[in-house]
Structures are given as C-alpha cells and as structure tokens.
C-alpha cells in the first residue's frame, strides 16, 4: 500500500479515537481515572530511569539496612534484605501492567474468535462451544487459575497463561451474543450475496463490530486481572523472588506486620489505586459505548 493510501486511511480512525477520548473525559471521575492510568503507564515505562535505587530491583541488596522505616532516603522504607521499597513498588507497575495486558490480551485473542465463530456459524459448533464455555464458567476464575498454576508450576508466565485460560470464556460468551444478532444485519447478508467467504465475514465484519463491548469488558477486566495476579503471587503461585510484584511483597511482608507496616501498606495502596482506576475507566467506557445506561 502506498503512503498516501495509508495516511488517508488513518485519518478518520484517528479522528474517531480523539472523539472517544473527548467523550471519556466529560465525566469527572472517568477523567481522573484516565489521568491516573496515564500516570501509571508512564511510571511503568520510565521507572528504571526515575527510581532512586534501580539496582535494588534484582542486582543488589543491602542487608545492613533491613527493615528501615520510611525516611528521606527511603520514602517507603526498606524490605527484608534492605532494598528500597519505593523503587520496587514503582517498578512493580511494570510487572502488573505487562502481565495484565498479556493476560487480558491472550484471553481476548482466544475468546473473541471462538465466540464469533460459534455465534455466526451456529449449529453443532455453537452447541459444543457453549457447553465447553459453560464448563469453564462454572468455576470461579480465581480458583481455576490457582488449580492451573499448581499444575503448570509457579511462575509469572504460567500465571499469565492460567489467567488467560480462566478468563477467555467470558469473552466468548460476550462476542457470541453479539455475533448472533449481527448475523441478521443487512451488511452481513450483503457480504454473503457478494460472495465473501465465511472466514472473512467473521474476521472482517463480525469481529470488528463486537469490539466495543470487548473493550469495555477488557478495561474492566484489567483491574480484576491485576488483582488476580497479585493474589496468585500472594499465594506463592505467581511471581517469584526477586520480582518486585505487589502481591508477592504483601505475602512476604505479612509475617512482619504490624512491626514493619510500610512493607504491607505501600504495595497494598498501589494495588488499590491501580485496580480502582481501571474499574472507573471501565465504567466510563461502558457509559460512552452504551448510552442507555447513562445516569441522569
């Protein structure tokens, strides 16, 4: 494709995006959430360069300074082998955001096509897919993730896989419903009369039109997934030392609470703020995409 075509194609898409941002920021709470998330993402991107003790992530420790309370030198105090908690909590945004995106991304990548195919094609494929989805949905996702990680072995990568495997059915169900109603739309019938093959219809017509609820769900899920990763790490099933993951830090700090209160409180606050911000964002996204739920 030549440059002119690409440039022209991008223009309307960029305009649509800017319009969404404008709508999002109209609601005060959502605007705050958006700024918080922006801040978190910036911290995640730039943390290695802005934190005061970058070596405390995995290269060094200072056991002589263990369990120091918060001070000017260490804003959040130090941990059990003398590492700066402030640096580690900030770096932890990287871990949480990446794992969150990977988990949700993987779940979407699996769940959306399966749902689109099941909903569009219907028949036995739909029945079989729905029964499989029902099986997964009958487990509470956290429990399922715990079981999966126990089988695969505790590590952050396995936690991501486990969460993706527990989460995908929700997207399938969401997209399948959409696909079933889209099936009746005229432009789908138009595509059929044009002769567009089924797989292309699913990929190019059905899936792009189911994106809105998927985006809402995904932005709300980010918060839940980050919490689940923290929970798994808390149980020893996710991140392993020395990874500065918030859940892992709370797990380690538990034994020393309340003497070493700073080791539990600050990672806990980080989880709280992040999850809250994503939930608010999800609410806001839902409002602009589905105006019927708008409150007066």
């Amino acid at each position: 494709m030549n440059n002119h075509v690409i440039k022209e194609t991008m223009k309307p898409k960029i305009k649509a995006f800017r319009e969404s941002i404008y709508l999002l920021t109209r609601n005060k709470l959502t605007a705050i959430a958006l700024y918080i998330i922006l801040l978190i993402v910036l911290v995640a991107l730039f943390s290695p360069y802005i934190i005061p003790y970058p070596e405390h992530i995995s290269d060094e420790a200072n056991i002589n300074n263990k369990f120091l309370p918060p001070s000017g030198k260490h804003f959040f105090g130090t941990d059990e082998i003398g590492r700066d908690i402030f640096s580690r909590v900030l770096y932890g945004t990287r871990v949480s955001i990446t794992t969150g995106i990977l988990s949700v991304g993987l779940a979407v990548l699996i769940g959306v096509p399966v749902g689109a195919i099941a909903g569009f094609i219907g028949g036995t494929i739909d029945e079989v897919t729905m029964r499989i989805t029902d099986m997964f949905l009958s487990f509470p996702p956290l429990l399922l993730a715990i079981v999966l990680v126990s089988i695969l072995g505790p590590s952050l990568n396995n936690a991501i896989i486990a969460i993706a495997v527990s989460w995908w059915p929700w997207y399938t169900r969401l997209v399948r419903g959409q696909a079933i109603s889209l099936r009746e739309r005229k432009f789908i019938q138009a595509a059929e009369t044009i002769g567009t093959p089924k797989h292309k219809i699913i990929l190019k017509h059905i899936i792009p039109n189911t994106i809105s609820p998927v985006i809402v769900q995904a932005s709300m899920d980010m918060g839940g997934v980050i919490l689940t990763i923290a929970s798994l790490s808390f149980l020893g099933l996710g991140a392993q030392p020395p990874t500065p993951e918030w859940g892992l830090m709370i797990s380690i700090s538990r034994k020393y609470f309340p003497d070493v209160w700073w080791y539990s409180i600050f990672p806990g606050l980080a989880i709280f703020v992040t999850v809250l911000a994503f939930n608010l964002l999800g609410d806001g996204v839902r409002e602009i995409l589905d105006p019927k739920t708008r409150k007066k």
Partner: protein, 524 residues
C-alpha cells in the same frame, strides 16, 4: 462510581489488609486459673502426624517423647549414652550381640509392667511394620528374651545398639497389651507408654492435650505441670501475641522481627538452643553444568555466608565446617570453609569453561521459611554478577522431594536446599543418608555416585562400634574430599530459638531430640 462506592472500597481494602495479617489468629487457650497447673504450648505446625510410636517419623516426636521412653538416652553434653528404661547393658566381643537389663517396677499407662517381653514385643512390632524410621533396626537379626528382665539383641553385623536404642524415633517401648493394636487405635488418642504424660484428647491437625501419669516411675513434685495443651497456631505474630499476653507459655519458630520485639517484653524470655540441624544446598551433579567440579567450586565461592549468618539469621546459626555440626564427634574446625569471594568464583568459572550466557539455574527451597528466601535472594544477586541467572522456587516439602526424585536428572532442580538431622546421634547418619550412592533416589540429593566414598562409609560404619577414633579419622577424610569436590554448599548449622514465659524454670533441650521439650522437667 459515586463517592459512596469509593468509601466502601476503601473500607474493604482496610478490612482486607487487617484480615490478611491477623488471619488464623484463633483465640487463646482454654482459660486461666485452675487449681491444676496448665502449660499451653503453641506450635507453628500441627503437633503430630501419627501417634503410633512405631511409625511416627515427623512432628509427633515432640508428643511421643513425652509419653513414651526408650531403653537408653543420649546425653549430648557428655556425649555418653545413659540408661533410661534399662539398668545396664553389655555387648559381645564382636559387637554382634547386645544384652540389656531392664528396670524393675516400671508401670505403663494401662497398668502393665515393664519387662524383657515388653521390650521384645515393642521392637519386633516396629521392625515388622517396617515404617517410619524402623530402618535403624536393620542390623538386628532377632531379639531374645533371656530372662524376665533381660533381653538380648542378635545382630547380622556389628552395630551400636546402645546408641540406636536411644534414637528419637522408632525406639519407643510400648505396653505389651497395646502391641496388637494398629495405628488407628493410637491415633484415636490412646497412649500406652511409660512416659510422664498420657494423651487425654487428640484432634488431628489441630491440638493435643496431655495429662499427668500419676504412676510415673520418677514421681511428681507440686510445682510441675499437670496438663499440657499443644496447639497449632501457624502465624508467628499470633504466637508472639499469646506469649506476650501470658496466655501461652512456650513456642518456637518466630520471624526475626517477632524475636526482636519479644526480647523487649516483660513476660517472655528468648532462649537459643543448639541443634544438630545442618542446612546444605545439594548440587545436582548429574546435570550440566553442575557435573563440572570447577563450576561447583565457583558456585561455592559465590554464596554470601557471612551476611547470611550475621544479618539474615541474626546469630541463630553458625557457618558449617564440612557436614558434621559441632557437638558431635566427627566435627572438625580445621576443615576448609568456602568464603564469599566473587573474584575466586570468577576464576573457577573461567577454569570450568562453562558459558554463562543465558544460563539459568533452579534452586528449590521449602516454603514458609523466611530465612531461606532471604539468603536465596542474596545468593541470586551474587550469581547475577557472575552472569548466572538463579530462579528461586518455594515449594512444599512433598513437591520439592518429588521433583528431586524425578527419574530424568535433567528435569530435576539444580540446587536443592536441604536440612539434615540424624535419627540417632552419629555422624554416619549424614553419610548414609546424603552421600552413599543410591539406585533409587532417597535423600542423596546431590546424586553422588562415588564408589571410593561408598567403601569408606561402610568401613567407618563398622568401626564406629569397635574403633571410634579410626572411624572419626575416616569421617574427617571423607569430609575433606566432599568439600574439595564441592558436592554441597555447606551453609550453616542451625540453632533453635524458643520463647518461654519468664516464670518457667528448668527449660532445656537436647539436639539429639530436635523439637522435643520435656514438659516433666519444667516447673514454676
């Protein structure tokens, strides 16, 4: 979201944090003043797995050692074996036959009397069941009742039966009336020993209540404890609270911060007690690159020994010299110790020729021990400086052991963090357990297959009875070779830290009987 929802989220967060940390702190003991004296011992783990004295090989030893007694007892201070249920004993020239004279007038909990028959029946039962630590009796061919109070052990090969009979496990003498019973009967809360305490009530996985056996052979004084409750309270902070409030009087296994805090308390005293526990890192000699001796030496020079002992353990341990801890014969302060020297480590690394690019080693440690995780992280940092990536995996013991026993050496861990303590106080235990080659993996988790060492172990074992000095020399030589070959990371000898109520007197422990507190000796 409205502000109402924000506030409720905040509340939930606060609740969650406090719940997490205070969880499982199930309240204190059953009550205060009674005319009967009560000792409340809170334990980090479940107090017992199996109450069958022939079978139990685990936590339950701390209960059984208070309910049952053995023929002999090991005095760790003198290093001598003392009579317990026996009066005296003798051995034949070739040490293949041992005769014990049993004490008279000793009663079991069920009223039966101790005699040679009882001894034979107890040990026979243990050997027949073949479970737990019954292997300590492997040398025994048969047991004979010579007379009412004389029992004779006939051995297949020479072995120190006087020492073996003092073992913490599998050496208990059981009432002849109970010998026919199966483990279920014992687990229902029945005890049939000669020890000072009987079992009153047992709740598996939770707690056990012991009451005084009035007819105990040594008799009772007024200020001793009539009842002992041993209860599982997993959280270190919860146990500390109970001790500080005076609701519990005895506990161990605290986090370093809890110990520091209790040192300042009026109600609690902190006591350090020696153990025969040694903490080692077993290096998987069957897996590349740990099959390269220079690489292993490099790993040995990378470990932060001093920091671990001083800062992580805060003095609750001392760096090991070789395999055998101090207090046991076979220990030698002259044995070489590796130090934390990254330059030397680099030297050996280069010498080994191993490429560190992309090299990842896996270290498995037992879950729930902060100190392991802490020094493992320090080790991780040091190894990173050498370009080696160390993955730390915390696992339950069962999972860790299963992995270590995986038929394919490549699927096993690289470093297995391991504690060893002897079944009875002899250095042979370390060698037979961890060094002797095995066809089927048991506890030799460095997978050593050294026929020279195997032969020496056999020799030393035989000589322990006949020529102790020679045996000791062989043991020290073996340790020299083991250290040179760097099969293990010789980390530290552990000590135990107890927190007891300030008013308690007579508290002492014996490293030959780890985790055991003899409640009979305590008084106010």
């Amino acid at each position: 979201m409205k502000s109402k929802e924000l506030i409720s989220m905040l509340l939930i967060f606060v609740l969650a944090v406090s719940l997490l940390t205070a969880c499982s702190g199930q309240g204190a003991a059953n009550d205060a003043s009674q005319t009967k004296k009560l000792l409340f011992h809170v334990n980090g783990n479940t107090p017992y797995i199996n109450l069958d004295p022939s079978v139990e090989n685990s936590n339950g030893v701390m209960i059984l050692q208070n309910c049952y007694e053995m023929l002999t007892y090991y005095n760790y201070e003198t290093g001598k074996i003392e009579p317990m249920l026996s009066e005296s004993w003798s051995t034949s020239e070739d040490s293949k036959s041992w005769t014990f004279t049993v004490k008279k007038g000793v009663k079991f909990h069920d009223g039966a009397e101790l005699n040679a028959e009882a001894v034979k029946k107890s040990i026979d039962r243990t050997m027949e069941l073949g479970l737990g630590a019954s292997f300590i009796w492997d040398s025994v061919e048969s047991i004979e009742v010579v007379s009412d109070y004389e029992v004779k052990f006939n051995l297949k090969y020479p072995a120190p039966i006087d020492l073996i009979a003092s073992a913490a496990y599998a050496a208990f003498i059981i009432s002849p009336n109970a010998v026919e019973q199966d483990s279920d009967w014992f687990n229902q809360g029945n005890s049939a020993g000669t020890g000072p305490y009987k079992i009153q009530k047992a709740v598996a996985g939770e707690e056990i209540v012991l009451e005084r056996f009035d007819d105990y052979r040594k008799g009772w004084k007024d200020n001793q404890y009539d009842t002992v409750v041993v209860k599982k309270v997993p959280e270190s902070s919860a146990r500390r609270q109970l001790l500080e409030k005076g609701e519990a009087q005895l506990s161990a296994n605290f986090s370093t911060t809890d110990i520091q805090a209790m040192k300042k308390s009026d109600t609690v005293q902190i006591v350090h007690r020696p153990l025969y526990d040694t903490v080692v890192g077993c290096l998987n000699t069957e897996k590349y690159p740990l099959n390269n001796v220079d690489f292993r030496r490099a790993l040995s020079y990378a470990f932060p020994y001093e920091e671990t002992v001083d800062k992580v353990l805060e003095g609750q341990g001392v760096q090991s010299h070789g395999l055998i801890p101090s207090g046991l014969w076979g220990h030698s302060e002259d044995l070489m110790q590796y130090t934390c020297d990254l330059d030397k480590a680099k030297e050996y690394l280069d010498k080994s020729g191993v490429q560190t690019k992309g090299l990842t080693l896996e270290m498995t440690i037992s879950a729930g021990y902060d100190e392991y995780r802490n020094f493992a992280q320090l080790y991780q940092i040091n190894l990173k400086k050498l370009g080696i990536n160390l993955e730390i995996r915390e696992m339950s013991w069962d999972t860790q052991w299963e992995k270590g026993k995986n038929p394919n050496p490549k699927d096993r861990q690289d470093i297995f963090l391991f504690i060893w303590w002897p079944d009875y106080p002899s250095p042979i235990s370390w060698f037979e357990g961890m060094v002797r080659s095995e066809d089927k993996v048991f506890f030799n988790l460095s997978y050593i297959k050294n026929p020279g060492l195997d032969a020496k172990i056999q020799e030393a074992s035989t000589l322990t009875v006949t020529d102790r000095d020679k045996a000791e020399q062989i043991i020290i030589d073996m340790q020299k070779e083991i250290i040179d070959q760097a099969y293990f990371l010789h980390l530290y000898d552990k000590s135990a830290t107890y927190a007891i109520n300030k008013d308690i007197q007579g508290f002492t422990t014996n490293p030959a009987y780890p985790t055991v507190v003899r409640y009979y000796e305590l008084h106010q």
